[in-house]
């Protein structure tokens, strides 16, 4: 396989973008990339998207989006893996370049969630319709079940989860693209309205519109497009049982651990080598489960990591410097690409007030459903 680099990134702000359609969001992010890299063609396009069909009644996003950026004719494929669609679009693009089949591949993600569809119902399509949704479960409800099991088994508290939200909003307040760039106190989080007990509104990521895109090419051609390419050192993907009830331990996200092991092995690095990480904090409890499954925090210490400052900017391993899904926003199909962009900017020293000094190795972990899909990328400064 050839070595692969990311050479340019583009991203819309995340938020309730009433003046932007699904296609317009994609075009803005994709054209930013094309212009920054100065390319006049693409060999292939991947569009990560969870549910254009349910959110705005639009499928067949591959050709639609290629056409929107004046690239009709180019192979263009929509990738779906619920909230992990973006991360898996990146992985698919990686293999197309690594294999030697293509040189210039756009990996993108887009979601238009605020266009009239009921987001609760649409997001629930990422759970098992016959075994879970039939009985009235929601997406926050599944993570609430993970949280309650975590509390019973490991002594995790509502305060532990609330610190994750406080920390991510502190980070997000420094991110000009964040949907909610504002800080909350612990009390505000703990007194916010209940969604699915024990999860409250401020433990949950918002409903967002947004798009993100990156350009991949072989590392040995990367200097044509940028002075500072970032190498994709490893990628790993895994699945788990679809229904939460079918997993041995509802508190353990086995797909996250498996996908991470595969990425670490490919990259030839260990969790302790990582300088900065973006993890899938769709709900506060998810960040706690993920940092432990990724090996970023020792077993048993994950719940208290945010309160102790271990995962904050300036801490031992800063997690979700972008604000995470919680503060930055979570346009589901775009999230995996946006996470990679935060790491890309951190490794290039472009993260402004969020900069982790001297960051050399970064990790992005993107998850779908209640953890039935997970994908991990490890990026390296060149």
């Amino acid at each position: 396989m050839r070595e692969v680099a990311i050479v340019a990134a583009g991203m819309t702000p995340f938020g309730e973008l009433w003046d932007m359609s699904l296609r317009r969001l994609f075009a803005e992010a994709a054209l930013e990339v094309v212009k920054k890299a100065g390319v006049d063609h693409l060999d292939s396009i991947y569009v990560g998207n969870m549910s254009g069909g349910c959110f705005v009644g639009q499928e067949h996003l591959g050709p639609l989006m290629a056409d929107q950026i004046g690239m009709a004719g180019v192979p263009s494929t929509r990738v779906e893996s619920a909230c992990a669609s973006g991360g898996i679009a990146l992985r698919t693009a990686f293999f197309e370049v690594a294999s030697g089949a293509s040189d210039l591949v756009l990996a993108s993600g887009v979601e238009k969630m605020n266009d009239g569809a009921d987001a609760t119902n649409v997001l629930a399509t990422a759970a098992d319709q016959e075994l879970e949704v039939y009985h009235g479960i929601t997406f926050p409800g599944l993570y609430a079940m993970i949280a309650r099991a975590h509390m019973a088994a490991h002594g995790t508290t509502e305060e532990d989860m609330s610190w994750v939200s406080v920390k991510n909003h502190r980070h997000g307040a420094l991110n000009p693209k964040a949907q909610f760039p504002l800080e909350f106190t612990l009390e505000q989080v703990m007194n916010s309205t209940p969604v699915a007990e024990p999860l409250r509104l401020l433990h949950c990521s918002p409903v967002s519109d947004g798009a993100a895109a990156v350009l991949l090419c072989p590392l040995d051609q990367a200097k044509k497009y940028t002075d500072q390419p970032i190498k994709i050192l490893g990628t790993g993907q895994a699945t788990s049982a679809m229904a939460l009830a079918d997993r041995k331990d509802p508190t353990f996200l086995d797909s996250v651990q498996l996908s991470a092991e595969r990425a670490y092995t490919m990259a030839g690095v260990r969790p302790g080598d990582i300088d900065v990480a973006e993890v899938h904090d769709c709900f506060a409890i998810a960040e706690i489960c993920c940092i432990e499954a990724l090996g970023l925090i020792e077993k048993g210490q994950a719940a208290g990591a945010a309160a102790a400052g271990l995962t904050a900017l300036g801490g031992r391993i800063p997690v979700n410097t972008s604000g995470g899904l919680k503060s930055k926003g979570h346009p589901v199909g775009a999230t995996g690409i946006a996470q990679a962009i935060e790491i890309f900017e951190q490794l290039r020293g472009e993260a402004g007030k969020r900069q982790v000094q001297g960051a050399r190795l970064g990790l992005a972990q993107n998850m779908g459903g209640s953890g039935a899909s997970s994908v991990v990328h490890i990026l390296e400064r060149t």
Partner: protein, 134 residues
């Protein structure tokens, strides 16, 4: 929900029919062509007990459309003595009085009314037989 989709699930949803794997003994609910535990292809039909224990649970405050007027309601993953785990609402109780470890019985109930097809959708709901000390 179109009627064939509802009808196909009747044996498991309305009668708690499951399958015990002939190779590893795992009880799979609903039955599948292949055992997810050992990939065994042979199984014996079995029916789940109507008692269970709550593994984990939540109380839904922000509900999907079909359940809007029931919120807040308790919903749990329960495990039967055969080791089968599945999702079930927990009813006839204060939703905050149940949690991991609560013993429940499984009772045949109306689950939802499907507005477009007009089908009344049935299944099992859990009723606590002891209270939770969470």
């Amino acid at each position: 929900m179109p009627s064939p989709r509802y009808w196909r699930e009747v044996p498991s949803r309305l009668r708690l029919e499951a399958a015990r794997c002939s190779s590893c003994g795992k009880v799979n609910y609903p039955p599948r062509p292949i055992c997810p535990g050992c990939r065994g292809e042979k199984s014996e039909p079995t029916t789940l007990s109507k008692t269970a224990k709550i593994i984990t649970s939540t109380v839904i405050h922000i509900a999907p459309d079909d359940f809007l007027f029931e919120a807040p309601y308790a919903i749990a993953i329960v495990e039967t003595p055969e080791g089968a785990r599945f999702m079930s609402q927990v009813v006839d109780c204060d939703p905050s009085s149940i949690g991991p470890g609560t013993d429940v019985s499984l009772e045949f109930r109306l689950i939802r009314k499907e507005a477009r097809s007009g089908i009344l959708c049935y299944g099992f709901k859990a009723v606590p037989t002891a209270s939770w000390e969470g």
